[in-house]
């Protein structure tokens, strides 16, 4: 994990797991991404998706920072990365509310990482509940004709 953060709870399939000692290398620019090779990276939500484009195939995981729950740029960035063909793990990292969990998943994230403090306020059952709500939505019907 990059230095100076107090995150630590990863939510996958609605369940809490402590963040393993994953090494996400913080990247501030496209140039830095060029030399990154086979490592997981962490990016700000303001980075341009296309800048990462050429390197996506080799990056196993990308964490997009959510500085505040009401800053929704990460949702669009995740969709752009998926559209560019990114197949690795996408993590929403930071201030994401349980009610936003289905939105994150529907935008292409695989998992969310929150602080221990937030996990204490929004315990696992809230995320399990939210996880149930992912399917019943208008956009899948309009886009893919899903029932």
């Amino acid at each position: 994990m990059s230095a100076g953060t107090d995150l630590g709870i990863v939510v996958r399939d609605g369940r809490f797991a402590p963040a393993a000692d994953e090494a996400f290398v913080a990247i501030e620019s496209a140039e830095e991404a060029a030399g990154i090779g086979n490592r997981a990276i962490e990016v700000a939500n303001a980075i341009a998706a296309e800048a990462l484009g050429p390197h996506l195939a080799s990056i196993p995981a990308i964490a997009i920072r959510f500085p505040a729950f009401n800053d929704g740029r990460g949702f669009s960035l995740a969709r752009q990365l998926r559209r560019l063909g990114y197949k690795g793990t996408l993590r929403a990292r930071g201030h994401v509310l349980a009610d936003q969990y289905p939105m994150a998943l529907r935008c292409g994230f695989d998992e969310v990482e929150i602080t221990e403090a937030q996990a204490a306020r929004q315990p696992e059952n809230q995320w399990v509940d939210a996880y149930q709500r992912i399917r019943h939505n208008y956009q899948d019907r309009l886009k893919y004709g899903a029932a």
């Binding site: 929704g72 969709r79 559209r83 009610d99 019943h136 004709g145 029932a147």
Partner: protein, 555 residues
């Protein structure tokens, strides 16, 4: 009228259940007000000056009698027996108790309504022409497209946390009654080179503290491409809109600072990629919605009695002159019910009045009602032969005010009486103006006049596009009203110009009287409206009337 299918029904019910849980958590203290705030806002629940306020969406302003009766029932059961229709085709309840709100939402769901996305930084209730499918000048009914956009924008996972709120309006007629160019996205249905119907898309319109007229980003968008194109605009905005300053966060500022051409280039680059994600083109999706909006079965009724009644009854004549306009079907008419009685609160209706309107609509308007952004209620399909009966029923319920489009048909935001952001009162000002000009018996003489009043710089009362706009400010603790002149919200949208220094609440109505007096003196004839006279003569004669002392000084 669009009726919910199983999917819509289940969706709305699950949202109510979810909110019920959140309210319980708030009431037992396990959610703080800070944590509860974004959740309640997602469901249209605001905290106002004195109480909570629930804002209910009336999608594209269309209702039937069943829905209107339910709105009456909600007003009576959980509020103080009335509701307030807003400039965004919503209805607001000003006095609900938090514990009752989930029940109110369930009652709405019973008739296929909701309060989802009537607040927060998301895509808000899509608004449209209140004369849709009835107006003679229409290219096509815009409401199927509006309904498609409602579905697409509801709970859209990517666009719930935009830099700022986002408003979309659509009109299907060349005469723009929906003020589309004052919206973040404004859509006009237009014909392409081969006569096919598509959309002209504008972006970056808005009123508020920095008003802009929307700019055309795509002159002709085929129906098939609608949702992917909108999604492209939204994605550009979500990623690039400013988040450092909430007053600069609307898309109008992004378009203004970045430049339309650059924004267009970004949108057009994304568009083909996003279109690939849609397996169904938007025209196919529309085709599934269109049958819900099939026109009613119009019937021919003989007009003899109507013409006799018109000749005999001056009140009916006056009502027809002001409140009734041509329908696309020659023996029908569109009736506007004024919610602006002299001295009343613009846009308020009691539960009893809502029921009367529902009954009349059921009996005489093919069971349809509309809410207009001018805070009136429309009966879109009334046979001319039924006009005398409709007028009589309205009059009995105190709804017969014949003032649509006249000086007392004022748009006013809630202002200091309800709104936590207000810097001045607006409803009492509207009441004073309508009372005064009613006393003077000048209303019909003055003719077409749109006065719009906002209680603060946020401009919910659309003062920028009022022929006369009034903006209430706070100057060192004292209300001060600024006047703008020459604004226009139609297809010729123009922002009004500030006339000069503001007036105190006491000075305002006399100043308006001088202004109107000047207009009556300088107009060519009765046909020339205030706005036309202003355009012909410029601001000078009106300024001189507003500020007679300055005029003297200059002389």
């Amino acid at each position: 009228m669009y009726t919910y299918n199983e999917f819509d029904e289940a969706f709305v019910r699950s949202r109510v259940a979810q909110f019920r849980g959140q309210v319980e958590k708030r009431l037992d203290g396990s959610l703080t007000e800070d944590e509860f705030r974004p959740l309640r806002l997602m469901n249209g629940l605001y905290l106002q000056l004195h109480a909570y306020m629930l804002r209910v969406a009336i999608p594209y302003g269309t209702l039937d009698s069943r829905k209107m009766r339910q709105l009456a029932h909600i007003a009576e059961t959980w509020d103080r027996g009335y509701g307030h229709f807003t400039t965004r085709q919503n209805i607001q309840y000003n006095w609900p108790k938090l514990k009752d709100v989930p029940d109110m939402l369930d009652a709405l769901a019973d008739v296929g309504m909701h309060a989802i996305q009537t607040s927060g930084n998301c895509i808000r209730n899509v608004t449209s022409d209140h004369f849709a499918a009835a107006a003679a000048d229409e290219i096509e009914d815009p409401r199927p497209t509006a309904e498609l956009m409602r579905q697409w924008s509801t709970d859209h996972p990517e666009f719930q946390f935009l830099p700022r709120k986002f408003k979309i309006a659509i009109t299907g007629a060349p005469n723009d009654r929906a003020v589309v160019k004052s919206h973040d996205i404004g859509i006009r249905m237009v014909r392409g080179d081969n006569g096919e119907v598509g959309y002209e898309i504008s972006v970056g319109g808005g009123l508020g503290r920095s008003p802009f007229v929307g700019k055309v980003i795509r002159e002709f968008l085929p129906k098939a491409d609608l949702l992917p194109y909108l999604e492209s605009i939204m994605q550009v905005y979500n990623l690039s809109g400013r988040r450092d300053n909430k007053y600069k966060a609307r898309i109008k500022i992004l378009v203004h600072e970045t430049g339309l051409d650059e924004i267009r280039a970004e949108v057009e680059e994304l568009f083909p990629q996003i279109r690939e994600e849609f397996t169904h083109p938007s025209d196919e999706l529309l085709a599934a919605i269109e049958p819900h909006f099939a026109p009613p079965a119009f019937v021919e009724k003989p007009l003899g009695d109507y013409e006799a009644a018109l000749a005999a009854d001056p009140l009916l004549r006056s009502f027809v002159e002001t409140n009734v306009v041509a329908h696309k079907h020659p023996s029908y008419a569109i009736v506007t019910i004024s919610l602006k009685p002299v001295g009343g609160t613009p846009g308020d209706a009691t539960a009893e009045q809502m029921r009367v309107m529902a009954d009349i609509a059921e009996r005489y308007s093919h069971d349809e009602l509309r809410i207009s952004h001018e805070q009136n209620v429309i009966l879109p399909h009334v046979a001319k032969a039924d006009l005398p009966a409709v007028h009589a029923a309205l009059r009995d319920a105190g709804l017969g005010t014949a003032n649509v489009g006249l000086i007392s048909d004022i748009i006013a935001c809630p202002g200091m009486d309800y709104c936590a952001l207000a810097t001045a009162r607006s409803i009492p000002i509207a009441q004073e103006i309508s009372t005064r000009f009613n006393e003077l018996k000048l209303e019909h003489e003055i003719g077409q006049m749109k006065i719009k009043i906002s209680g603060c710089i946020n401009a919910c009362g659309h003062h920028h596009v009022g022929h006369i706009g009034i903006l209430g400010l706070d100057r060192a603790g004292v209300e001060n009203y600024q006047i703008t002149l020459g604004g226009d919200g139609a297809e010729t949208m123009t922002l009004g110009e500030r006339a000069g220094p503001g007036f105190s609440a006491e000075e305002l109505v006399p100043a308006l009287e001088r202004l109107i007096d000047a207009y009556l003196k300088v107009r060519r004839d009765r046909q020339e409206s205030f706005l036309e006279a202003y355009r012909r003569l410029g601001v000078a004669p009106f300024k001189a009337a507003l500020y007679p002392d300055q005029a003297k000084d200059a002389a």
